[in-house]
């Protein structure tokens, strides 16, 4: 009754006084509890996302490591001189180091990069690493066959590509071969080897060599 009276004769000052004097504090309680509920929901959602992101980051980090390992194997083959380089064999599941992924890893290689990916519950994780050396996702026989078809010579030391085709035409042809992405079976061994492709230079007396790394299964 007293409160009603105050409201009827309310001026801003009296209203404020009434608001402060009202010690039931129901609106304070309501507001603070609502705020508390909102904040709890937000914090719980953030924690849930943080935990989920940590799991995703862990997958990404492991895939990064696998891609880096494979990329290093290819780059090391590129660095070694042709005379000392034999064929290297790479295993994706060596020492069971990728145990968390089982056999579900997908790997592919192209002339510019290696890619490793993994799918879990409809979500795709992946890592891509650039290659430092020119690479072809083909075997020695396939490269020689392609060169034979395009230039009538397989580019061996005994059968260099004739000079009239031009150096640029050969490198562009090989670059086009490298754009094709080759999927690899991660449970099988991967062969990494260096090869030389010979081209006659313009006077036709000397040969020039092009270095490429071949990655195939």
């Amino acid at each position: 009754m007293k409160i009603k009276l105050c409201l009827q004769k309310s001026t801003p000052r009296k209203y404020l006084f009434h608001f402060i004097a009202d010690d039931r504090a129901w609106i304070d309680l309501l507001l603070s509890k609502v705020a508390l509920i909102f904040v709890s929901i937000i914090i719980l959602a953030a924690l849930y996302h943080l935990a989920a992101d940590a799991g995703r980051m862990n997958h990404d980090r492991q895939l990064d490591l696998i891609a880096q390992d494979f990329c290093s194997a290819i780059n090391s083959a590129g660095k070694s001189s042709y005379e000392t380089a034999g064929g290297n064999i790479y295993f994706f599941d060596a020492y069971n180091k990728y145990g968390n992924f089982g056999s579900g890893i997908n790997a592919s290689v192209s002339g510019e990069y290696v890619s490793v990916s993994f799918e879990e519950n409809g979500r795709r994780y992946g890592s891509v690493k650039p290659l430092m050396y020119k690479t072809l996702p083909l075997s020695e026989d396939e490269v020689r066959g392609e060169l034979m078809g395009a230039f009538s010579a397989n580019g061996n030391i005994s059968q260099p590509i004739p000079a009239f085709y031009g150096y640029t035409a050969v490198t562009e042809f090989l670059a086009a071969l490298g754009t094709k992405e080759e999927n690899l079976n991660t449970s099988m061994e991967v062969h990494i080897e260096k090869t030389l492709i010979y081209i006659h230079n313009l006077n036709g007396t000397e040969v020039k060599e092009l270095e490429y790394i071949l990655v195939h299964q």
């Binding site: 504090a25 603070s32 904040v39 953030a46 660095k79 001189s81 430092m132 050396y133």
Partner: protein, 168 residues
């Protein structure tokens, strides 16, 4: 006086706000925790990328040192004459293109060869107008450089400066 009023006030005017203050503190704590966590991860990611680039730069540096076309009279020497031929602008364009032929276009780097006394320096770059700015990771290998025809050998360094790959 005001402090004593605040302590002796038993109307519990502040009481409902206590949980808001404590919640605000939790939120602030959580935000700081998330910020520290993300900063740590970003630093780790940046460092691992730098390490990865350094490994690649070191690999290329060792490859460059062992490249037969720039070797001097012995395998462990680098010929200044050969370096002169491929330093930009390249006197021997064929040799220059052969030098970079085996590297993929991802390997965006230039080679800086210097004698330790600073008297000679060679920059071998793939393109003439390449920028030498931006994020660069470098790896060096000590070498011996053979100067001129009198076979004067001086110690030097081959440094490969790898520009950070923008798409990874």
């Amino acid at each position: 006086m005001s402090t004593s009023l605040f302590i002796s006030d038993e109307k519990a005017f502040m009481e409902p706000h206590n949980d808001i203050i404590s919640t605000a503190m939790i939120v602030i704590g959580f935000v700081i925790f998330a910020a520290i966590l993300s900063k740590t991860y970003l630093t780790y990611d940046d460092n691992s990328l730098s390490l990865e680039n350094y490994r690649q730069a070191a690999l290329i540096a060792n490859d460059v040192v062992g490249y037969p076309a720039i070797q001097g009279s012995r395998q462990d020497l680098i010929s200044a004459y050969a370096l002169d031929s491929i330093t930009m602008p390249a006197a021997d364009r064929e040799m220059h293109s052969d030098f970079f032929q085996r590297f993929s276009s991802n390997a965006d780097f230039f080679v800086d060869v210097r004698t330790d006394d600073g008297s000679h320096a060679w920059i071998i770059d793939r393109y003439e107008a390449s920028s030498h700015d931006g994020d660069i990771i470098a790896a060096s290998v000590p070498v011996v450089i053979e100067l001129g025809n009198n076979a004067r050998c001086v110690p030097g360094t081959v440094t490969v400066r790898l520009r950070k790959n923008k798409w990874i």
